[in-house]
Symmetry: C2
Subunit: 326 residues, 2 copies
DNA sequence: CTGTTAGCGCATTCAG
DNA sequence: CTGAATGCGCTAACAG
């Protein structure tokens, strides 16, 4: 490369990395021509080794096709990364092995910072804490507590879900089933959405708990809802841990000849757009606006800060949105 | 690190990378202890610079939350990567800018190989060809032709879709609408799914073409289907470019008081599981089994080959699956 | 304006 | 069995 253009490697580096060092127009052109002719692209490993920065950020998600809101998160991240000259790579963490691998990759220095949104318990708290202790700039979405050295974005899910369940109680529902994500069921004590459910029932002195799995995918949700609603003492409301599951529940109810919300009310979580086209429209719990620019900004602030800024925390606002299904 | 364990960097390298060089048990333990105490992880940039391999593969997708089948593709890739000691990073390509960026990152050497599944036209053929010319081992899913130096996985979408539309014609449908992905509409000539649609109509001498957008997301599909079905000369069949859009179309029909398939038949593409719980069950076009292990194996064969193997090609088998909606 | 040089952190000879 | 020396491809500082 350098010899083809008949210049030193330093010159090549300067023109390709667009630094301010003055380079004769003619020389620059020669370099550019040679680069194009050879299809030359600087080796990023060498570059980051030298610069001690990768100009990359890493997005860590539970899985592709998981939470629909992740699409927005990813878009917002890509957009800001672009604007600031960073690339984005994504790691998928859908089980413990993947969590381990992801942390290893991050520790190996694949990126200058990470935006981490892993639902469930795959990414153990210790792993996360160990990663943060590395000094890697990171922003964690979740309800982890006691994470030092990184920014936290938490969502008051429990409160908002309790509100939804209280609404069900106040409109006369008494047998309220909760369709949970798998990881919630295997937890020692209820948290988040499930906690909201139990809290609301506690407050109203309702003893009965009907907790099933099935919220993880649409088909499982349909089957679970069908079972629930086929039983002789069927619930008069289903609170599902995801909107997708809730919509499946609506289908199941209708296929059984039950009316929604007449015979059974349905409420989901997430406030996805699809809730607007279901019939009836889906009552849900979630953010009113899906916008993660503030979250993403936390990361880039941290990346571009001279020294580690104090840990900040954003609390995302979640509310109960009543629509036709309840 | 080296000094804490009181050994040379070479020794550290040997014990941590698990090479066969003999190391005294006591020395090894000292290194391991020091590594854990410091939370030391070898820098991957330096390692790949030296070894000229990253031990990473890259998955390139259109977008997270895009095609449901990508979840399986990702799982299969992760699994085999794990087994062979590779990590997986993912790049998301949902527009031209992202395509450009992704290719740049790949050229920069982020991974030893790439599995590329980008639907639509974002990833221009030239970019792909340029990347392949780099010598980067890659497997491309799509119907690109004339790509040298990489393995191709193609899907006879057009044929399978034509079969579906012929089925609609044979069961008496005459006004068949096609709900397209955005990128299909803006193409100069029909390809893939749209081509299947036009081909079938041509064969049967049907002149009328009803092509709309809306297949990209559920809400848009619902709205588009509602418009189509509200018109005085409404179609008697809707062929949607995705199952998700097709399911939205079923909802739209039902919400308008139309029966499916009585008043309007609906057929989708993709054969996603959700089609089994829709009411009626969704007729669709797609693979009977979602399994990408053979595709993934192509990549690792290529990675572990001494010299570039001949370009191979896999043709995935797609069929029309008739269910209740048509 | 451009070339020379010294590492970045690691894996790998080659000596000991 | 272990340490010292070399260089992977690049950038930044310093000479010219």
């Amino acid at each position: 490369m350098a010899e083809l253009a008949n210049v030193s490697v330093a010159t090549v580096s300067y023109v390709l990395s667009g630094k301010d060092r003055p380079v004769a127009a003619e020389t620059r052109q020669r370099v550019l021509d040679a680069a194009r002719q050879l299809g030359y692209t600087p080796n990023q490993a060498a570059r980051s080794l030298r610069k001690r920065r990768t100009q990359r950020v890493c997005l860590v998600l539970s899985s592709f096709g998981g939470v629909p809101a992740d699409v927005r998160l990813a878009t917002d991240l890509h957009e800001m990364a672009d604007a600031r000259g960073y690339s984005v790579v994504t790691l998928s963490v859908y089980d413990e092995a993947r969590a381990q691998a992801a942390v290893e990759v991050l520790r190996g220095g694949i990126a200058d910072g990470a935006l981490i949104h892993v639902v469930g318990d795959h990414l153990a708290h210790d792993l996360l804490a160990g990663l943060a202790a590395t000094g890697l700039p990171m922003v964690v979405l979740g309800n982890e507590s006691g994470l030092k050295g990184c920014d936290l974005v938490r969502t008051p899910e429990a409160e908002a879900c309790a509100e939804a369940v209280e609404h069900l109680l106040q409109t006369g529902r008494r047998r309220i089933a909760y369709m949970a994500h798998r990881f919630e069921v295997y937890r020692d004590k209820p948290m988040g959405r499930l906690l909201g459910y139990t809290t609301a029932l506690d407050r109203h002195g309702v003893k009965e708990r009907i907790v099933t799995g099935g919220a993880d995918d649409r088909v499982a949700a349909y089957q679970t809802a069908t079972e629930l609603l086929s039983s002789p003492d069927r619930p008069d409301a289903i609170f599902a841990a995801s909107d997708r599951a809730a919509i499946s529940a609506i289908w199941a109810a209708r296929d059984l000849g039950l009316s929604v919300p007449g015979d059974v009310a349905v409420v989901g979580v997430g406030n996805i757009d699809e809730g607007l086209i279901s019939n009836p429209q889906l009552s849900t719990v979630g953010p009113l606006r899906h916008d993660y620019t503030d979250v993403v900004r936390l990361l880039f602030d941290r990346l571009q800060a001279e020294e580690p800024p104090p840990a900040r925390e954003i609390v995302r606002s979640w509310t109960f949105v009543r629509r036709g299904s309840s």
